[in-house]
Structures are given as C-alpha cells and as structure tokens.
Symmetry: C2
Subunit: 325 residues, 2 copies
Amino acid sequence: MREETGNLQSARKSVRLLDATMRDGGIVNAFLFSDEFAKNLYETNVKAGVDIMEFGYKADEKLFDAKKFGKWKFCKEDDIRAIVGENKTDMKIAVMADVGRVDLKRAVADKKNSVVDMYRIAAYLNQIPSALQMAEYCKSRGYETALNIMAISKNQESDLKRALEEVGKSSVDVIYIVDSFGSLYPEEIRRVSEIYLEVGDKYGKQIGIHAHNNQQLAFANTIEACACGVNYLDSTMSGMGRGAGNCHTEAMLGFLKNPKYRIEPALAFLRGFMKPLKESGAVWGYDVPYLLTGLFNAHPSSAIEFIKNGRDDYIEFLNALLFME
Amino acid sequence: MREETGNLQSARKSVRLLDATMRDGGIVNAFLFSDEFAKNLYETNVKAGVDIMEFGYKADEKLFDAKKFGKWKFCKEDDIRAIVGENKTDMKIAVMADVGRVDLKRAVADKKNSVVDMYRIAAYLNQIPSALQMAEYCKSRGYETALNIMAISKNQESDLKRALEEVGKSSVDVIYIVDSFGSLYPEEIRRVSEIYLEVGDKYGKQIGIHAHNNQQLAFANTIEACACGVNYLDSTMSGMGRGAGNCHTEAMLGFLKNPKYRIEPALAFLRGFMKPLKESGAVWGYDVPYLLTGLFNAHPSSAIEFIKNGRDDYIEFLNALLFME
C-alpha cells in the first residue's frame, strides 16, 4: 500500500490527517468538552480539510462512572449525531476502543445505523489477540478499523514483528505506530516505520503514526514517518493530549502540501477555544518532567502527578524515575 | 574532519556542546542576567560537561547604549573574569561578534591576555567577506574561530555553496549552519548538513548547527544534523532565545551518550534560575505566531511584537505575514 512518498514540494493524495483533540485531549479534562467546543471543532476540521475526526472513547458505563467523565468518554451514537447530524461531509468520524474497557457487542451498532466510520482499537502488544477479535467484530458490522499498538518503545522488535504478522493477516485496515511515551527519536521512527511499512506492503495495509511530545519530537517524528510512507497521521489542536501532548494539528495543516488542507480555520479555533481552554486551567504540553520520562522510556503518569502537585524538584523526580526502572 | 558518525548507542568524542543561554537568551532580556545567574550557569555548564559556554556578544559601546543593555551585550574581559577567574576548567569560553557591530581591533586583546577561547562571527551570506576579515583578525590574535552563516533558509543553495568555498579557504575552524527562522525541516537539515560537511571534509573544517524552535524542530534538527556528522551543537537552558528560542541544553545533555555529559546539574539550574526567570516575565518559547513565521520562512520579529502586544488574532497576523512576503 506504499505509494510514491513524494517530497517537500509535493502533495501525496494517500495522506490522511486525523484530528484526535477530543480523544487524546479528553484525557486532560475528563472529556468535559462543551457542545459548543465539539460543534466548532467539527466545523473547523471540516473546513481545514482534516480527513478523520476522532470524537473520543467508546468506554463501558459499567466500568467508568458517567458522573466523573464527559460524554466523549462513551461516544454514544446520539451524542455524536447531536454534533454532526448525518455528517454530510467528506470527513470521516472515528472513535477509539481500548481492549478490556468496552463490550463492543453491546456498544456497537451496525454501520448502517451509525455516523461513525472507523473504530480504532488501542492495545498493548500482549493484547493483540483481544484487539484483533474486537477489530474483526467492528469490521463485521461494517466499519473501517485501525489497530493502535501502544507503547512499542517498551517492546522487543522481534515480538513486534511477530505481532504485526498477525495483524497483517487480519481484516484491519490501518496499523498504527504509537510512541506512547514520546521516547523515540526520528532515527528510530524511520526504522520502526520501515518495519510497519514492510508488513503494510505485504498484506495491503495502511500505516499510521500517533506521536507524543515528551521530548518535543511529536511533529518531527510525524513528518519523518510521513516521508517514509506512513499515511495516517494523528494530531490534536494545540497538541492537546495526555501529559506533554501530541503533534499539533495546526503544524500539520501548515506542513502538508495538499491544497485541501487549510490552516486558517485551525487558527480561528485556537484563538476561540484552545487558548481559553488552556487559560481555564487545563494543563498539557512539553515540560521538564516529560523530557525525563521520554528520555527514560517511562509512562508519563508520574510526571503528570509531579506537575499537578506544583513540584519542581526535578532531580528527586529523576532519581525516583531511575529507581523505579 | 568527518569521523564515524556513530549511532544512538554510541558516544562520539568529536561532539562539542555549546551552551548559548546568555548570548541568544540575552536577546530576550537585554542581557540583564545577574552575576549570580552567570556564575551559577558557568558552574552548571562545567559540571554538566558542556564543552563551550558562550557569554554574550562583543558589541561596540559606541553603537549600543550601555544603559539599555546588560554587560553581556559587550562581554568585557574583566566582566567575564569576574565570573570565571582564570577558567581553570576543560570548558572553553566563547563570545559572538556580529558583522558591523563591533570594531574588533579595538575590542579584542591578544589571546594570552584573555580567558576567551573562541570568537564566533555571525554574518548574513552577503557579509561573508567582512566576516572572514573579522575571523582572520581573531585568529591572528590567537583565538579559535567560528563563522555562523545566518538565515540560510533565505539563500539559494548555489550562493551558499560559493560562500562556503570562500570560508573553506580561510582559517576559520568551525562553520555553522544557522536556521535563524526555524523554518527548516529535518529532511532539509540533512541535505544542508551534507553540503556543509562536504566543504568541511574538503578543507578540514568542523561543522556546527544552531537551530531555532519556531516549528518545535530545534531539538530534532540538531540531533539529525549530529547524526549526519555535524559536531558543534548549540543549545540553551530551557531553550531560552529570541522568539521561539533554541534547542534545549537539557534535552541535549539527555540525548548525548558520552558519559561526561550530566543532566542533573542542568535540572538544578532549571529549577533555581530558568523557572524563576520565566515566572518573572521573560517571554520565549514556541507559540502559534512562531509556527507561522517559521512556516513562511520569515524573521520572527513580527511574531515577537504580536505576542508582546497580547494579540491572538492569528489570522490577521498570517494575512499580514503573507502580504509582507
């Protein structure tokens, strides 16, 4: 599925920009986005030429207290429809499902009764069989599917390759590189992309990338993967996402050369919604503790806690991080 | 002068990390660093294994009002000595001189009477003859020299190559790639690095890189250049520098594999000095207007002004930027 990869002066028609602001950003604010925010983001993404908008998670209300989370933790059909109507646009709608956090057989309607186009299944490497079962189920109900293999920086390449072979044989449409800890350097991203793209070539799959900004490499890693032939590119407005956040949608809209991508709608959204959201106290983005968790390939949870507690004793944080390792 | 370039698991002895916090960061606060800051930064850099510390500019007091700038705009010998004594350490001391902003014949003592080790001459491509004259003068007084060719993203490659040939034939020790506008992508940095390294190989020169963070690519571009064989790597604490700032020294200390580099002293300095400096109102670092000046290869001055005025009408800013272009 790899096409000519193009260059900095060309547009590649196979590229798909996926805005995951309400999904990865939702982890920051417990998915408590107002309907006005959701509606405006939807309209912004349509105008900006974004190919896919991810609304949130499909999580099980039996497992998560609906009083503690906004509705985008659950992404009910009616809630999405309240924003998008019948979604009579070229932009597709995605939701994410984590392995073990939702009973898809209860939660997922037939595609003909849904405005959702794509289910993205997120799984750790050791959950691939469960993830594939979920993906096959979604495919059987008529949806496009992606499988996001998380935290690959913690896995051995040989294990990853074996897992990718299994995913290759499945009906999954897109296989995602996920640098959950923001620990991979561009040089490594090129090597990992090559591994995924080989499987993509072999089995006719698209490859995607979801980068984190712990070391301020999310944008660099995303465009480097793109240059290698990775087509599905995740980003969020202002980089909103867990901890250090993600690749910025506005940076991607500026970078991508296909004239359908427009940065102006994103700039208006940043001013109208993202800046106020940040000023209201939502905390995300690069900071020293994330550099350290990224550097030592650790989950950002301890860094999030450290920042939340207003601490700046970075050396103590580093020492705790190294001891934990 | 290109050696084996190594990989992510190896240390390359020819790498030189240059901390330019007080020079590029000085542009942010008019060089008004306290002696306590300077002294602590010096000690931090020594402990962290930084190879070269740049103290500021060698500017002419006849051209700049000494009441409007801190002393590091002028870097008098006695002021540097007040911080470093005889500098009985392995770390070298650098100062920068801009073409046309200093009379080096009056300002530069013989090396035997100075603790300065290196003069870095900053010039636009059309100022190379003047810059070379300055560099040759510094060399004749016994100093190491670097020539920083600024804003190369505005120049034609063919002109750049001709200029590099001239610099190659001079006595300059290090030739610097300077992405003044933060507009170059890693892919371009690799191409530019190759152009410089060819000249370096031909004439026995070291190559350096000074990156800016307008598109959040300063760290990525620096480590990509390093992987190509560029040895002199500029960075600043917390990325402090004009506009979007620079590659972060702490990120480089984490990235570089030579065991002489230690991140802990930098972490203590961030806590003790950089965080308070930022909290006191000094403004630098990535922001939307810098993404736009970087994207359109423009000087960041309009973005700095925009942010200073508390504006967030990004679309009007973009429109003005495109019209100016």
